[in-house]
Symmetry: C2
Subunit: 195 residues, 2 copies
DNA sequence: CCGTTCATTCTACGGTCGTTGACCGACGGT
DNA sequence: ACCGTCGGTCAACGACCGTAGAATGAACGG
């Protein structure tokens, strides 16, 4: 038996190359979006030939589909207040580190129908749980607004890199957003009057 | 003098054709984004040859620049509460009708540097006024969050067409967002404790 | 009425893209 | 040691893109 790290077996080599390609694809799709990312660029970033990418993944669409992985982190049920806090925590997690996969979807969803679908179905379970937890007739609209807020913030922080949003700490952002989330997950006090 | 509508003069004809091209460009840029919109498609939609578009506008970039017009509606100064309300009113205006120009910028800004710049500079005056009106040290972050919320909502309503957001009336959306805007433009009560 | 301008079209060039298929050379089972 | 398998490269095709420039013909000014 050869030393375990001296010469990699063929299967190992293949998995390793595939992973290098997927990494490069994730990076480029997140940075440039679907259209501007070229298979040749992915291949070159991974140190291989463009033909190999086709050979392994079949097409650009399939490469994109396999590169973007959506962990879809789940939301615990509970009172509307608890759900708001869980949602804030989920946002906090997404504001630390850079999940290249979901950034790729976010970057591409406005110009690529497939990415748009992926975005929809990825957020759907969260959206449904959210809707179920909000005790008002317009729960679905409220949940959609929360989704819009979350993605707006992430897009401007990571994709557009608006300085004030990019520099802020996740805690700072979450603290400022907490009243928003609470007001959207909570029915209005029975007699509220705008001054 | 020929009848005013019998045979159009050459200048009239030109202005008319240019406007048809710009209309088609606005529609296509808003619908497909910068990359997927082709000069040939714009020309064909306007009923002219692609060469003519080049002849009139010089390049695809210049066509895009001229097609997207940013009215940049101004924000009156005032107390933070008044600014919040003015911002809500501005959002309401943008939620009725479909300003194809700004949708084109919004659709393209994630994949086109020029559109991103245009988006930044278009929102900048509003952002500055907003920052000036918020009486907290983190005013700039708060203003950025408000901007992110606004654009997130518009993007999901008009570009992604999430059903619950697309079907809702502007008033409904604004009413739900009002507490958000108020909490972001207002310093927190001196002793707030999250339960 | 003639020469010019100009709106408009046609054709074509150079480049890039996704994708294909032939080809090469090292690994691995027998 | 042989030979099929398979990771990987190379060259090319067809489509489409942005763009340039010549050609056409009708409107215009003198």
């Amino acid at each position: 038996m050869t030393g375990s790290n001296a010469r990699p077996t063929r299967a190992q080599q293949r998995r390793q190359t595939e992973e290098r390609i997927l990494d490069a694809a994730r990076r480029l799709f997140a940075e440039l979006g679907y259209d501007r990312t070229t298979i040749r660029a992915v291949a070159s970033a991974a140190g291989v030939d463009a033909g190999l990418v086709m050979h392994y993944f079949g097409s650009k669409d399939l490469l994109f589909a396999q590169a973007v992985e959506v962990p879809a982190d789940e939301l615990p049920g509970g009172t509307s207040g608890e759900v708001a806090e869980a949602l804030l925590a989920s946002l906090g997690r997404r504001l630390t580190g850079e999940p290249a996969g979901s950034l790729a979807v976010l970057r591409s969803m406005l110009t690529n129908a497939d990415a748009a679908d992926r975005y929809r179905t990825a957020g759907e379970p969260q959206l449904n749980q959210l809707t179920a937890a909000i005790p008002t007739p317009d729960a679905d609209l409220r949940a959609s607004l929360l989704s819009a807020i979350i993605h707006g913030v992430i897009a401007e922080r990571y994709l557009l890199r608006l300085t004030h949003l990019a520099d802020a700490s996740p805690e700072q952002i979450i603290d400022l957003l907490r009243p928003c989330f609470q007001s959207l997950t909570t029915p209005p006090p029975t007699s509220a009057k705008t001054l």
